[in-house]
Amino acid sequence: MRIALVLVAALLAVPVAHASERHPKQSELEGEVMCPVCGTTLDQSNSPAAAQIKRVIARRIVAGDTKSEIKDRLVAEYGEAILAAPRRRGFGLLAWWVPIAGILAAGALVGFGAWRWSRAREREPEGRRLDPALERRLDDELARWE
């Protein structure tokens, strides 16, 4: 049931993402592009440099550019650092997948450690079994006290 819900949500999200790519909104792009002189996204800045990029974005939206085309144009001018998040392609993919791979690797490592630890605990009594003669003597001693 849960998986079905996730699938339905994912399917509903696809047309929305597609529309956003073909007809980007100014506010949306301003949240995804950095101001080159203030270290915040455009929507957080009133600096002249940010205002200039906002004007460029507005002109490109009117011209009918897609979101990717606008971002490509900005990257060509300012470099990759102009994007608030790395792109999900090429080298930028590393930024998305390395943390996930790291979390999975750490989980596997912890799981493996826990498995080894539990196995070691299971084996422990065998390794510490008493000498049979000593065990018999201990039983005799205990029997005397009962």
Binding site: P36, A51, Q52, V56, A76, E77, Y78, G79
Partner: protein, 179 residues
């Protein structure tokens, strides 16, 4: 076997920690590389950091290192969104008429949109050549924001000064023109 596996794991863990430490040291050393502005404030005359950037007008590139030993240079960092840059670039344009035969004037349009920068140059009548440093990487090596930032490089390629007050312009121009 179990012992060798454990040793290998420990060696890998130590290697990973060493690699991370090396990365940290490299990063700190890189960040502490002071720009030209700071070096000048510390009384040094650093070698002008090289750049090889596309010209704004589209006519090839300018390689700063290729000018070393030939001409003294004025390097002007500007952007079309920078209001004080208008005044300084116009002063440089006027100075170019007097010193242009002995000193090279190069603008570095930084963190800017190149079409806006070209329009800005036309609007304000700035004719000395400019290159485009959109990412601002070159600006960072010279000292970073704020702009305008104007530096004077002698014929040997040493940065002898930065424009701080208006009187610096004629003073440094005379100095580098005679270098």
């Amino acid at each position: 076997m179990a012992r060798s596996a454990r040793l290998t794991t420990q060696a890998l863990a130590v290697a990973l920690v060493m690699a991370l430490l090396a990365l940290l040291v490299w990063r700190v050393a890189r960040d502490s590389d002071k720009g030209v502005s700071q070096a000048l404030k510390d009384g040094e005359q650093p070698t002008a950091p090289a750049f090889n950037l596309k010209r704004l007008d589209g006519h090839g590139r300018i390689d700063l290192a290729s000018l070393r030993g030939k001409k003294p240079i004025v390097v002007d960092f500007w952007a079309s969104w920078c209001i004080p840059c208008i005044h300084e670039s116009k002063r440089l344009e006027a100075a170019r008429k007097r010193y242009g035969d002995r000193v090279a004037f190069i603008g570095v349009d930084t963190k800017d949109f190149s079409s806006e920068a070209r329009a800005w140059k036309r609007k304000h009548g700035i004719t000395y050549p400019s290159v485009h440093d959109g990412s601002g990487n070159v600006l960072t090596k010279w000292g970073g924001l704020p702009i305008p930032k104007i530096f004077f490089v002698d014929r040997a390629g040493k940065v002898v000064g930065e424009l701080i007050v208006e009187e610096d312009l004629p003073r440094y121009l005379r100095q580098i023109a005679s270098s």
